[in-house]
Structure formats: C-alpha cells, structure tokens
C-alpha cells in the first residue's frame, strides 16, 4: 500500500470512535432513564457517523476494493488500534460517564487541531465532527458535576469510576509510528503537545464536581499497538457477530 502510514493514521483516529460508539450503543434500551438512554445512543450514532467518514476514506486509500464495512467489521482484535480507555465496559452509569468525559475532553482538543491538517479530507471531517463532540463534552461534563456534586452515593461511584479509568488516560498522548511519520507532512496532530492542557481541563471540571483528582502515576498502554485489555474481544464478538456468521450479509 502506497499510503500505509496515512491508512494507519486514520484507523488510529477512527477505531476510538468505533469502539466507544459500540460501548454507548450497548446502553440502547438499558440506560438509567428513558432520556439518558436516548442521549447515550445519540452519542453512539454521532460516533458511528464519524467512523463512516474515516473508514470510507481509509478504504479508498487501500485501493484494493476494501470497503468501510470490511475495515470496521472484519479485522482481528490485534488489528484494532483504539486506546484502552474507550473499550472499558459500562460497569455502571458513573463508569459510562467517566469514560465518555475523559475521552471527550481529549477528542475535542484533538479535532480542533486536526482541522488544521494539510490533508483536506481529514480537516473537513474534523470540522464536521467537532460540533457533535462539543455537545458530547458538555453532556458528559454536566453529568460529572451532577454525580460528583450529588448524593453521597453518586459521589462515591463517580470517584470510583474516575479512579478506575485514570490509568488509561496517559495513552491518549502517546505518539505512534504513523503519527510521527504523518507529522512531517503536516497531516497528523502531535498529540503529545495536548497533554498538559488536557489534564488542566480535566482537573478543573473534577474540582468543580468536588471530586478528587487521582494522583497515581501508573498508566496502562498498548491499545495503540493492538495489545488490548480482556474486554475488547467480547465487544468485538458482539460487533462482528453478524458478518462472521453470515459473511457478506447486507441489509
């Protein structure tokens, strides 16, 4: 493949949205209230919409007749390069909101930079996505504050979720080989430069929510290299079931 680095770079962006979208979609019919159920599945649909734009572009780059569906549905676990954060399960609503919040703050900053990419397709996708993500960020931040500054129980659960997910945040700012290669061409975002601002924003919202900012410096990594937590396999078996069982099925 001529543009292998660009292809890998796009997957690095899109896989995060695909896996997070699948996680939010799991709440369809299972949200804590009718209204939040719809809100979570709305976010899921936004993310899937974004994913389609990325994978269509990636499929075109391969030049071998692959489609967006092939890329989304027919890779093996090790070939997905999403960060570990987004594959973490919906243990409870606090975890769902915590995961969304910790990703949204990053996602918004990332898209703001991607809009400046020299790759016109990527910058156009980023410009379209950032409005949606701006709403996701508002939604998740509001809930962080409600649950953190809520009852004793909601505060304990929200703190527990932030503590549990914190270890997956640092990976967002790791540069992959594709990231580095694409920087030279002015296409990719140097995510390592977003880190300081990210933690500042996250901390200020956690403080507003009267939640403690975790101090742990021990961080997990590996997702960007395809080394995942045990949760991704189960998620993929749900996601891929139909295509694996009835290959090439369409509806």
């Amino acid at each position: 493949m001529k543009n292998e680095n660009l292809y890998k770079y796009i997957l690095g962006i899109a896989d995060n949205s695909l896996i997070l979208g699948q996680r939010m979609g799991e709440l369809c019919g299972h949200g804590p209230s009718l209204e939040t159920d719809i809100a979570c599945t709305n976010i899921s649909l936004d993310l899937f919409g974004q994913v389609r734009s990325y994978y269509q572009y990636a499929a075109k780059i391969t030049g071998d007749g692959r489609t967006e569906d092939d890329i989304a549905m027919l890779r093996k676990e090790r070939e997905y390069v999403n960060v570990l954060l987004v594959e973490q399960p919906n243990r409870d609503f606090a975890y769902t909101i915590g995961r969304q919040f910790l990703f949204d703050v990053y996602h918004y900053m990332f898209l703001a930079q991607l809009q400046k990419s020299h790759d016109v397709t990527l910058s156009a996708i980023a410009a379209k996505c950032i409005k949606e993500v701006s709403y996701h960020k508002r939604f998740s931040s509001d809930w962080i504050k409600r649950l953190g500054d809520g009852t004793q129980e909601s505060r304990a659960k929200m703190q527990d979720a932030i503590n549990g997910l914190w270890t997956y945040t640092d990976e967002l700012f790791h540069m992959t080989d594709a990231d580095t290669a694409m920087i030279k061409e002015g296409i990719s975002v140097d995510v390592s430069t977003l880190k300081e601002n990210y933690y500042q924003q996250v901390k200020s919202i956690l403080e507003e929510a009267i939640l403690e900012v975790p101090e742990s410096k021990w961080f997990q990594k590996g997702g960007k290299q395809g080394i995942h937590t045990e949760h991704l396999g189960y998620l993929l078996s749900d996601l891929q079931y139909m295509q694996r069982t009835y290959p090439n099925m369409e509806w």
Partner: protein, 96 residues
C-alpha cells in the same frame, strides 16, 4: 431537588425550522431546567426538527378543567360572526 428518586415532569415546546411559534412537542423527566433542556434536545430534536426549545415544569402550567368545557367553550360554537372570515384579505397579509 426535593425528591431525588423521581425527577419532575417537564413540558417541551419546540420551534421548528419553518415554524413561527413554539409548539408543544411532549413531556419528559429531568432533575432541573438545564437537564430538561438537554434531554429535550436529545429526545425531541435529534431528527433535525428544531431551532429553539422551551421547557417548563408541568406543575407550573395552570390548565382549564375539562369539567368546565361546557361553560367555557360551548357558547362560542354558534357565534360564527366572531370569525374574521367575512373580510377579504389582501395577498400581502400572511400568517392570519
């Protein structure tokens, strides 16, 4: 919020793209006005229906009693002359 288990009910009014006024779209539950607005956005405008949303807590609406419908509304039924249908409106006058 007095009752933490049961969120109060809110009525949602949406002004649609080509509409001139807010119309009642339905109701939903939310802990407070901010959440009611966000929920309304997700529940009632996700298919591109609206450009503006109002929410009001249902208990703040004073409604007429259906039992009084007779005295309230029936007297108007046989007074056709109260309709402004006997005038010729120029075409330039819209939205009457």
């Amino acid at each position: 919020m007095s009752d933490k288990k049961n969120w109060p009910l809110w009525e949602v009014f949406v002004r649609s793209k080509n509409g001139l006024e807010h119309r009642h779209f339905g109701s939903l539950h939310a802990a407070d006005a901010d959440m009611a607005l966000e929920n309304a956005r997700d529940v009632y405008t996700r298919r591109n229906e609206g450009v503006s949303i109002w929410v009001v807590e249902s208990k703040d609406i004073t409604a007429s009693n259906p039992e009084n419908n007779g005295e309230l509304f029936e007297p108007a039924q046989d007074k056709v002359y109260r309709h402004p249908t006997f005038y010729d409106l120029p075409d330039e006058v819209k939205h009457m």
